[in-house]
């Protein structure tokens, strides 16, 4: 580990930041989902970094589980997008507000 772990964590933070902006600012549901994937990966990077720093592969396991959960999340998210789009061709999440209370 020639590069100090702080650098990796900072990189992870930057990626997280970009992801957050993407989720909040974009209105295309697919791009929002992709931004969420970015968030997951930023977190994973931090996990793997600490796993390497402490030589404990619990971090790897956790990252692996995150990947799995991300797969489930993406599948459901895409299914919802597909169904919504099939009903009415909206691609703007602001126009989809069936959940309004």
């Amino acid at each position: 580990m020639n590069v100090a772990p702080e650098n990796y964590v900072a990189l992870s933070a930057v990626l997280f930041f970009i992801g957050v902006v993407g989720v909040i600012a974009r209105r295309n549901p697919l791009i929002m989902l992709m931004s969420i994937e970015l968030l997951f990966n930023a977190a994973n990077l931090a996990l793997v970094t600490y796993a390497r720093a402490w030589v404990n592969n619990a971090g790897h396991i956790f990252a692996f589980l995150v990947i799995t959960v991300a797969a489930a999340e993406a599948a459901i998210g895409l299914a919802i997008v597909a169904v919504t789009f099939r009903k009415e061709p909206f691609v703007d999440v602001d126009e989809v507000s069936a959940l309004r209370g």
Partner: protein, 650 residues
């Protein structure tokens, strides 16, 4: 590994027959029987392991340190397992014939197999928790089987009564287990017995034994928790034979024998158990003289005989008590199955007053019942003689002359009512065609003697007929041990005494030598038996008595003392003391607490939830990005907290 098989095969049968009963149809019976039979054979193969110096102990798993669960097959549980699976197998086979016309054939065998599994759990467990689980499951199986004909209100009531009383016993055992765990922190038998002397004060030990004995009293129908057993005869007769005679009700005997080290260390508890056992023995025997229902007579005799066993194990004559269990399992199963043949042949007639003269029509049933009656009465040479003698003399050996006297008297009464049963049923003329009122029977349906709707009586001719081979073969097989098994305990250094040599604590020997020798004692018992037989013969068996049988039965029925007919008013007392106050309390809760406290609480909770929902509805904008923003705000807050708390260095 084989022990797992012994233990789990009946469970497989119970679950499988329950699940696939409709598909299996008439195969359910043979399959259920075969599973128990295989279990029996497997147990035989384990004989050597069980009797080795270190008994077979198979671990199952552990929960906490000191809380490991496992199966234990030692000499005591081996005897029980053999009886449960062996006699159980015979009764299963018998049931194929007995239940042939029942609609719920498969369900019956599912319950029976489940019962065998539960009973094996009880006796094979190597810890108190497993014992309690088996204890509870056995009660459940008994509940199922007593209420098997659930369209009979009496059966349902009997099942409920049995269950409730058994639960009283379960609570006693739980109390004992709590005490044990609180004192020792472990549940294994080995741990408990190793620390009997050091971990408990005498007072605590007495409490543990008392708790355990409450369980025994409930399961084994000891006074005052006995009154469910006669009612349990509402179940099918094979059930009565297997559960309420041969195996389940003797679980109390097993419990006392299993915890022999505890009892031996607590003389007070021993005195209590011995006294209760003797009391039950004589009380049950007296009630047996007053019954007319063939199964109820046998039920009271069971109660009485278990009283003997409990007395035996209670006063410290453990091997004698267990031996009486062994012989009783055979001859009582024999008696019940013989009675079942009669009941089956007479289209569910159970009232002995309406029988009579069956000796000629049903010679096989007569032979079977005769052997059983001779055995239970203690006629020399048959099994009951040896075991009863051992128990009775054990009372004297351990220094309990009063209990000894009670036991001898009870032996005489036993002979009286068993021969009464035999004479009334098989001798004289057939009274099935006599009008019930001539016999003094006022309300046949209230007396519990009406034909039960379990079969389809309309299809059957109520005439005595020979049983099928499926019913007669098990009875025929049972005749052999009923006669011969007693010889295991013949002589001072018998096979039985060697089998249990050193297994049970023999602290009771110190009580001093008995005032009379065993031979004299045997003669005394035989004298009592002879008197009992003579009275029975004079009243019911002599030619003169047989001629006026109908009138005699009528007067006897009418003049029966109320205290006997109502079984010492135990049920009435329970009704007045427990059931009515409980009902009243329940009614008060129903009228007051339920609507004004519980319902109101729920209602108010619902209203406030609704109000909260209205409040939070405004946050639900449906804008995904607004949600995301809120989330981001939350993340920012958390990060800010960490940055402020830990950001300044470590």
């Amino acid at each position: 590994m084989l022990l797992y098989l012994v233990w789990l095969l009946p469970l497989v049968g119970g679950v499988g027959l329950w699940a696939f009963g409709p598909q299996l149809k008439s195969w359910a019976g043979p399959i259920g029987s075969a599973l128990v039979g295989v279990s029996f054979i497997a147990t035989l193969f384990l004989w050597r392991d069980a009797t080795a110096a270190r008994a077979l102990d198979v671990p199952l798993g552990s929960w906490l340190p000191g809380w490991s669960f496992g199966l234990l097959l030692d000499r005591l549980s081996l005897i029980w397992t053999l009886i449960i699976t062996g006699v159980g197998f015979l009764i299963h086979v018998y049931s194929i014939g007995y239940m042939d016309r029942d609609r719920a054939f498969a369900r019956f065998f599912a319950y029976m197999n489940f019962f065998v599994f539960a009973m094996l759990t009880l006796v094979l467990s190597d810890n108190v928790i497993g014992l309690l689980v088996g204890w509870g499951l056995v009660g459940l199986a008994s509940y199922f089987l007593i209420g098997f004909w659930f369209y009979k209100p009496t059966a349902v009531a009997a099942a409920r009564k049995a269950f409730v009383m058994n639960v009283v016993g379960d609570i006693g055992i739980m109390f004992a287990i709590f005490l044990i765990v609180a004192k020792l922190g472990g549940i294994g038998y080995g741990l408990i017995f190793a620390n009997v002397g050091s971990a408990f004060t005498p007072h605590e030990l007495f409490l543990v034994c008392l708790g355990l004995f409450i369980g025994c009293a409930a399961k084994s129908a000891q006074i005052p928790l006995h009154s469910w057993l006669p009612d349990a005869m509402e179940g099918p007769t094979p059930v009565s034979a297997l559960i309420h005679a041969a195996t389940m009700v003797t679980a109390g005997v097993y419990l006392v024998a299993r915890f022999a080290p505890l009892w031996s260390a607590s003389p007070d508890a021993q005195e209590l158990v011995g006294a209760i056992g003797a009391l039950t023995a004589i009380a049950g025997a007296i009630l047996g003289c007053a019954q007319w229902d063939i199964k109820r007579i046998l039920a009271y005799s069971t109660m009485s005989q278990i009283g003997y066993m409990i007395m035996g194990v209670g006063i410290g004559a453990y091997d004698a008590g267990v031996f009486h269990f062994l012989t009783h399992a055979f001859f009582k199963a024999q008696l019940f199955l013989g009675a079942g043949i009669i009941i089956h042949a007479l289209a569910d007639e159970q009232d002995v007053r309406r029988m009579g003269g069956l000796r000629k029509q049903m010679p096989f049933a007569f032979a079977a019942m005769l052997v059983g009656v001779l055995a239970i009465s203690g006629v020399p040479g048959l099994s009951g003689f040896f075991s009863k003698d051992a128990v009775v003399y054990g009372a004297l050996q351990t220094g309990h002359p009063w209990l000894y006297a009670v036991a001898v008297v009870t032996a005489g009464i036993t002979a009286y009512y068993m021969f009464r049963l035999l004479f009334v049923t098989f001798f004289g003329a057939y009274r099935g065609a006599v009008d019930p009122s001539d016999l003094g029977i006022r309300h046949p349906e209230l007396a519990g003697t009406a034909a039960s709707p379990g079969h389809h009586p309309e299809e059957e001719e109520p005439h005595p007929h020979a049983p099928g081979w499926l019913m007669s073969a098990p009875v025929a097989i049972l005749i052999v041990p009923t006669i011969a098994i007693g010889w295991l305990d013949f002589g001072s250094n018998s096979a039985w005494k060697q089998f249990f040599a050193g297994f049970f604590p023999r602290a009771a020997d110190a009580a001093g030598a008995a005032p009379i020798s065993e031979a004299v004692s045997t003669l005394l018992v035989l004298l009592a038996v002879a008197i009992g037989f003579a009275v029975a013969y004079a009243r019911y068996g002599a030619p003169a008595a047989l001629r006026g049988a109908i009138a005699r039965l009528r007067t006897e029925t009418i003049r029966m003392p109320g205290v006997l007919v109502n079984a010492y008013y135990f049920d009435a007392a329970f009704e007045a003391l427990l059931v009515r106050p409980a009902r009243a309390l329940g009614g008060w809760f129903d009228r007051t607490v339920d609507p004004h406290v519980i319902d109101a609480g729920v209602r108010e909770a619902a209203i406030s939830a609704q109000w909260l929902g209205h409040l939070f509805r405004s946050f639900q904008t449906g804008l995904v990005r607004a949600y995301a923003l809120t989330l981001a705000f939350g993340v920012a807050c958390i990060v800010a907290y960490y940055a402020l708390a830990f950001g300044g260095g470590r």
